[in-house]
């Protein structure tokens, strides 16, 4: 059985999604400051890594990594939900089938406690 990552097109799907997703978060005044970076190439690479993980693709992030990466940002559910919403609308824009969107949103939701350091 193909993973959701393979089913939606693998690395090519990530490439298609990253700019769309990144534009959405940069355009959202609630969270843009977390994504606005001097090194845009590096930020883009991080977004690709995040999307790959969310799409069920190969990655080596641990809960510990997610905790550390977000530790000092004082994030709340408001921020988490905003990013999740942008992920969902990116997938909708790319016409990803609803069942795959559901799977991906489930993976994203599973990072909640680590990202918010709760």
């Amino acid at each position: 059985m193909a993973s959701v990552f393979e089913a939606i097109g693998g690395a090519a799907a990530v490439d298609a999604a990253v700019d769309i997703f990144y534009r959405k978060v940069l355009g959202d005044p609630l969270i843009s400051k977390f994504f606005d970076s001097v090194d845009m190439d590096r930020q883009t690479a991080k977004q690709k890594a995040f999307l790959t993980m969310a799409f069920g693709g190969p990655n080596h992030y641990t809960g510990h990594d997610m905790r550390n990466a977000h530790k000092h940002m004082k994030l709340t559910d408001v921020h988490f939900n905003a990013v999740a919403g942008h992920l969902q609308s990116t997938l909708a824009e790319l016409n990803v089938p609803q069942q795959h969107i559901d799977t991906i949103m489930g993976i994203a939701a599973s990072t909640h406690d680590d990202v918010l350091n709760v």
Partner: protein, 329 residues
């Protein structure tokens, strides 16, 4: 065997370059180990990385031998170094000093070995070291690969140690060391029909001038639009050269934009970023490649704006000039 810096390290079966180096306690940064974050970037030395190790890297990085060490599983001897590792200094002499306007000096340096700059793509930058040991990075404004003669456009800055030396003490024949090249702002002939939009402010024109000439020399077919912004007409330069180039090539157009002062016949008054965005609005944005060069604040601001307007992040190339904070070497 894996060559790295001065050492040679045996590769275990199926092992990646990254894992091999880490196993031997060699200092390579890394993070995701999944070919995504690009933290483990290395540069190939006298060998070709496999496609898997370059996937997702920008065209300019791919064409300068960069690869992700975690995705590189060699099946024969390879040699790598950390990127921008300026191990070798190239010695040269000043062969040209010409003041282009009140604030900009054209510096031309001839490498003693004419083949020494053969790897320098037009638009990359070199670190220049003068006899006082002051070292600064400057973008190359020409194609110096064949003859080792590199042109730089250097602005006088209030506290600038290097520029102060250049404007007041430097002479023809002075020795300079050059290190590099580095930088990802150069022409890559992977899509010769695509529109190119190049926006530079002040001496940000330098690498863009090199890139425009390189693109035209390589037969780029798509439209090439250059915007040069400056504070006033007194800080513009190369206007005749750029007009001539536009006259010779149908697909190249040049516009100058100044913040203040009466604009003349072929120079508008306004904001360079706004002019650039207006030009972009008339182009197929998802296919357009953008090059931005000049002071960091300008570059970062316009980079975000062009991205938000729809230019793909993989198509945005920046060379942001950062001034050294203190008057020291």
């Amino acid at each position: 065997m894996l060559g790295f810096q001065a050492g040679h390290y045996p590769l275990a079966d199926g092992e990646s370059v990254l894992d091999c180096l880490l196993r031997h306690q060699q200092p390579v940064p890394y993070s995701c180990k999944a070919g995504l974050c690009q933290s483990c970037m290395v540069q190939a030395v006298d060998c070709q990385p496999p496609a898997l190790a370059t996937r997702g890297l920008k065209a300019t990085l791919q064409s300068s031998g960069h690869a992700m060490a975690c995705q590189w599983h060699p099946d024969s001897d390879v040699c790598v170094r950390l990127p921008d590792n300026q191990a070798l200094s190239v010695q040269g002499h000043i062969v040209g000093l010409q003041q282009l306007n009140v604030v900009v000096m054209k510096l031309v340096v001839q490498a003693d070995d004419p083949t020494a700059l053969a790897e320098c793509h037009p638009g990359q930058y070199l670190n220049l070291v003068n006899s006082a040991g002051t070292i600064r990075s400057y973008s190359v404004a020409n194609d110096c690969r064949q003859h080792g003669r590199a042109e730089f456009h250097i602005a006088a800055t209030a506290q600038g140690l290097f520029s102060h030396w250049l404007f007041n003490a430097a002479s023809l024949g002075d020795v300079l060391q050059m290190r590099g090249p580095a930088g990802s702002c150069f022409y890559v002939a992977d899509a010769d029909q695509q529109p190119l939009l190049l926006v530079g402010v002040g001496t940000g024109l330098a690498p863009l001038y090199a890139i425009v000439n390189d693109a035209l020399a390589q037969g780029h077919q798509g439209p090439i639009l250059l915007v040069h912004g400056a504070s006033s007409t007194a800080s513009l330069y190369y206007r005749p050269e750029l007009h001539t180039l536009a006259g010779m090539h149908n697909n190249f157009s040049y516009s100058a934009v100044v913040r203040a002062g009466a604009a003349d016949a072929d120079c508008q008054q306004g904001d360079a970023a706004e002019s650039a965005l207006a030009l972009l609005a008339a182009l197929p944005v998802a296919q357009t490649r953008v090059y931005l060069c000049g002071n960091a604040a300008f570059v970062h601001n316009l980079r975000k704006l062009v991205f938000m307007q729809g230019v793909r992040s993989a198509n945005i190339f920046c060379d942001a000039f950062v001034e050294r904070a203190t008057q020291s070497n």
